[in-house]
Symmetry: D2
Subunit: 284 residues, 4 copies
Amino acid sequence: MKNTATLLITCPDQKGLVAAIADFLYRHDANILHADQHQDAENNLFLMRVEWDLEGSTLSLDGFAEEFAPIASRFDMNWQLKSTQKRPRVAIMVSQYDHCLADLLHRHQSGELNCEIPLIISNHRHTEKLAEFYGIPFHYIEVNKDNKPEAEAQQFALFDRHEIDLIVLARYMQILSPDFVKRYPQRIINIHHSFLPAFIGARPYHRAFERGVKLIGATSHYVTEVLDEGPIIEQDITRISHREQVDDLIQKGRDLERVVLSRAVRWHIENRILVYANKTVVFD
Amino acid sequence: MKNTATLLITCPDQKGLVAAIADFLYRHDANILHADQHQDAENNLFLMRVEWDLEGSTLSLDGFAEEFAPIASRFDMNWQLKSTQKRPRVAIMVSQYDHCLADLLHRHQSGELNCEIPLIISNHRHTEKLAEFYGIPFHYIEVNKDNKPEAEAQQFALFDRHEIDLIVLARYMQILSPDFVKRYPQRIINIHHSFLPAFIGARPYHRAFERGVKLIGATSHYVTEVLDEGPIIEQDITRISHREQVDDLIQKGRDLERVVLSRAVRWHIENRILVYANKTVVFD
Amino acid sequence: MKNTATLLITCPDQKGLVAAIADFLYRHDANILHADQHQDAENNLFLMRVEWDLEGSTLSLDGFAEEFAPIASRFDMNWQLKSTQKRPRVAIMVSQYDHCLADLLHRHQSGELNCEIPLIISNHRHTEKLAEFYGIPFHYIEVNKDNKPEAEAQQFALFDRHEIDLIVLARYMQILSPDFVKRYPQRIINIHHSFLPAFIGARPYHRAFERGVKLIGATSHYVTEVLDEGPIIEQDITRISHREQVDDLIQKGRDLERVVLSRAVRWHIENRILVYANKTVVFD
Amino acid sequence: MKNTATLLITCPDQKGLVAAIADFLYRHDANILHADQHQDAENNLFLMRVEWDLEGSTLSLDGFAEEFAPIASRFDMNWQLKSTQKRPRVAIMVSQYDHCLADLLHRHQSGELNCEIPLIISNHRHTEKLAEFYGIPFHYIEVNKDNKPEAEAQQFALFDRHEIDLIVLARYMQILSPDFVKRYPQRIINIHHSFLPAFIGARPYHRAFERGVKLIGATSHYVTEVLDEGPIIEQDITRISHREQVDDLIQKGRDLERVVLSRAVRWHIENRILVYANKTVVFD
C-alpha cells in the first residue's frame, strides 16, 4: 500500500520555481517518486505535480501548510496537498443505463480505483440490486418537473453527511441546476456520448448517425454551468461503418463511455488533473 | 494490370434484386471478383457494388447499357458502370500548404492511385516546382476579391479541355462559388482539418486548442453548397496532450490530412463510394 | 425480436454461385437482410454469409437441407444454417481474474449477447458470487497436476448435459488437453493478453515490459492443438509509455481483454465467422 | 528560431538530485522551458531531460562542462548537452522503396525536422532524382556479396567527412556488419515493417498475412548487433480485414512506416530519447 503525498501547484511562471520546490522537499528528506511540470507560455503559467514518499520524510501532512507557506507566498501559488492516507469519497449518480456504473463498481472492487464510494444516487430503481451486490448503499431520489429543488436538496444533504469529494455522473440523465454545479466546482465529472464539441446536447448517437460520421466518440469532462462546455478530461473514439445502425452505435459507444469515464475518475482520484482556462492538464 | 468492370447500383429494395443481377452476370460469363451490397431498411434502399473480370465475359462496355436496360428498368435502378480501361482524370487544386499535394503525387507515381492527373491548379506559385518534378502541368490562376468569376471561368475551361472527372481540393483555401459546386456534384473532394461536425469553418486547429480537446481529426468529404456539410467519406483522429501548442497540432494534423484525403481519393477512383441521404457508403 | 436464418457457405470458387444461391432464396420468397461474400483467389475459395427474414419465406428450417441439397451438391459446398430461433448455448470457463467474466455477464444481461449461458466452470471459488448475482449456475471443478483427466471428464459431462455449442475461456489459466481441443473444433474461444504472434505463452505483459514495446495488445482466437496458434478472430492494442510499470500494463490490458474477447464471442454467436487456412473471415 | 540548450541525464536515483540541478540552472539565470524526469524504481535509475533558453542565461555551451562538473561528479551522472545552435547532421540510407525517403525529405524541407541532411546513400540509383529535387547530395554505393567491407568503408569515409551524427535507414535493405553497428551506438535508426517482436526478420507483411493477424504494424528502433532486437523508439498499427491481400498490406504499411520512422527521427533530433536496459524513454 502506497503512503505518499501529492502536491499540485499553479502559479505565474518565473525563474527559480523548480529550484525552490525541489530544495524544500530535499530539506525535508522527501524522496520524490514522480514529478511533472508544464509551462503555458501564452498565459505565463506554471503547473506542477510532485509526489513523494511520506515514509522517511520529515514533512507531516498537518504541518505542511505552515512550512510551505513562505514559498507559496513568494511565488503566489495556488496549491493542493493530497495523500493516499485519505482516500477521496466518491458519490455516483446514475439513471437507467447501468453499464458505466457496473464498470466503475467492478474497477473499484478490483482495486483499480483508490477511493471510497459511500453512496449511489439514482432517479430509477433499476440499479439497486447491482449496488447491493457490490455493497454500496443505494439511494432512490425521484426527480420530476416539479420537485427538482427538493430532490437536489436531498442530494446535497447526502453529499454533506457523507463528506463527498467527487460526484460522478455515470449516465445520469438529469440536468443539474446552476446551484448544484456551483457548489461542486471541478468536482463533478460527467460522461458525454460524443466527441465534444461535436453533438452537444441530446441524442448524440442519433445525430452522429444522421450526419454520417465515420467515427463516434465519448468525452468525460468537469461539469460547468454551460451544458457540455466544461473542461475536457479525456476523449476517445471508435470507427463505425455504413452497416451500423443507431442501435449499433449505441452499443459500440457503451465501450467508449465505460473506458473514457473510468479514466477520468481514476486520474481525478490520483490527483493528476489541473484545470485552467477551461482546459485540463493531465499529468501522466 | 487489372481489366475489370465495376457496376454501382442504387434502387428501392425488393426481393429478387440480387438474383436478377447475379443471373445477368452469369448469363454473360462474367467472373465476379468482388460483390458487396447494403440495405438501408429505414429508407428502403438497396445499394450494390459488383466488380467482374472483363476477360472471358461476353459483356462489352459499349453494349452493357442496352443489355442491362430491362433489369435496370424493372427494378428502377440508378446505375453507373466504370472500367479500369478508362482511368479517371483528376485535377488537383492547392494553395500554399503543399503536404497533401506532395503526398498525392508520390502515391500517384508509385502506382497507388490508378488515375490520370492532367493538371494542377493553384492560386500561388509555391508548388510549381513540385508539380514539375512529378511531370504534371501546373496552372497558376490568381484569385482575389474582384476576379473570382473570371478565375472560375478559367478553371472550368481547363476542366472541360482536360475532361476532368474529379476535382481534389488538396488544402485549396478558397471557397468555391455555388455555381462551381453545382457543376460537379459528388465530384469534388475536400479535406477539412477537424473531425466534422466539430470545428466547421476557419482555423479549426486554433479552435481545437482553445477548447482543450484531447483528440484532433481530419475529414474528407464531397463538397456541397453548404460549407463543410457535404457527405463524409473518411475521418481519422490523433491524440494530443496539454504539452502541444497550436503549431504542434498543425504539424500533427498534416499527417492526418494526408492519409484521410488520399484514402478518399483512392476510394472514389476505385468506384467504392455511393452517396445517399448526405452520407456515403464505402464498399471495402 | 429478430426471426432470421443465416447461411454460411464455403466452397471452390466458380461462376454462377451467387446466381444459384440468390435465385434459390428468391424462389422461396426469402427477403435477404444481409449478404456478404469473399473470394480467396490464391486458394480458389468462395465464402459467403447470407441472412434472411424467416417471416414471409416459404423456407422452413427443417426442410432447408433437403431443398438446398441439389445446389450444395452441384457446387461442392460446406454449409451451416443457423437461426435466431435457436440461441447458441455458451459455457464460460474462468480462473481467478474475473474482469472478462463480469464483462460478458453484464453484456449478456443487457441483451448484447444473444445466447444462453447455462453454466460457468471455474477451478477457483472466487467468481461464485458473481455468477450467482447474474443467475448463472456455477460449477467448481478443481484442477491439479494429478486430476486433469478426471476434471476434464467432469467438464465434458457438463457440456454434454447442457448441450453446449461454444466454450469461452475468459482468462481460464489451465492448458486444455489435446483431447479437449479435438472435441470442440472452432468452438473454443480464448483471450490471450498480447498481440499474437508476439509474446506467445506465459506472462506476456512481463515480457512486453522487458522488451520495451510502445503498444500492448490482446488477441481472441479459436483454440487449436498448438498453444496460441489458432485462427485469430480479433485483436486490439493500446499505447503505453515508459512511465508505466508491469502492473499498469496489466491494468490497461484488462480493458483490451474485455473488449477483444466480447467481440469474438458476439461475432461467433451471430454466425459471422468462417475459418479457413488457420485464418478467420469475419463478415461485418 | 529557438535558441535553447537541452541536458539529458542518467544516474543512480537519490534524494536531492532535482534540487541540485534546478538550483544550478537557477544560479545561472536559466529560464527552464521544459523539464521532465523519470525514475525507474527497479533499476534505481533517474533520467531527466531539461531544456532552457540560452538567451538571458549566464551559462555558455563551452563553459557548461566545467561548471556542471561538481554536480555531475557528486551524483555520478552520465550527461549530454545539446543545443539548437548546432543542428545534428543526418545521413539517410535507402534502397529501392522510396516512400520513407520522400516523406523525410518533404518534412525536412517544410521545417519539421530541425537537422542538416548532408547526404543520401543508396545501393540503387532509383532515388537519385528525388534527392536532387530536394537538393541533397546523392551517393550511389553498390553492395553485393563480395564487396560489403569495401562498400562500408566508403560509407564510413562519407560519414566521417560529413561529420554525421545520426544514420537513418529509410528502408535500406542491406544488413549492416557488426563493425558498422558498433561504430554508431544509438546513432542508427531503422524502420521495421512489423510490430516487433512479432515477425522479426524478412518479409513481415507476407508472414502477417499468412498468420491471419487483424492488425499490421511498424516499429522504429535503434540498431544493435542482434537483428530487430534494438531499443524500440516508436510503434504504431493499422487494422486490416480478410479482404486485404499481401499487396494491400504492403500499401497500407507504407503509411505506418512513414509516420513511425519520422517520429523517431524527430524525437532523436530534438534530444527526447534516453536509452537504458535496451529500452527507450521518450520525453514528450
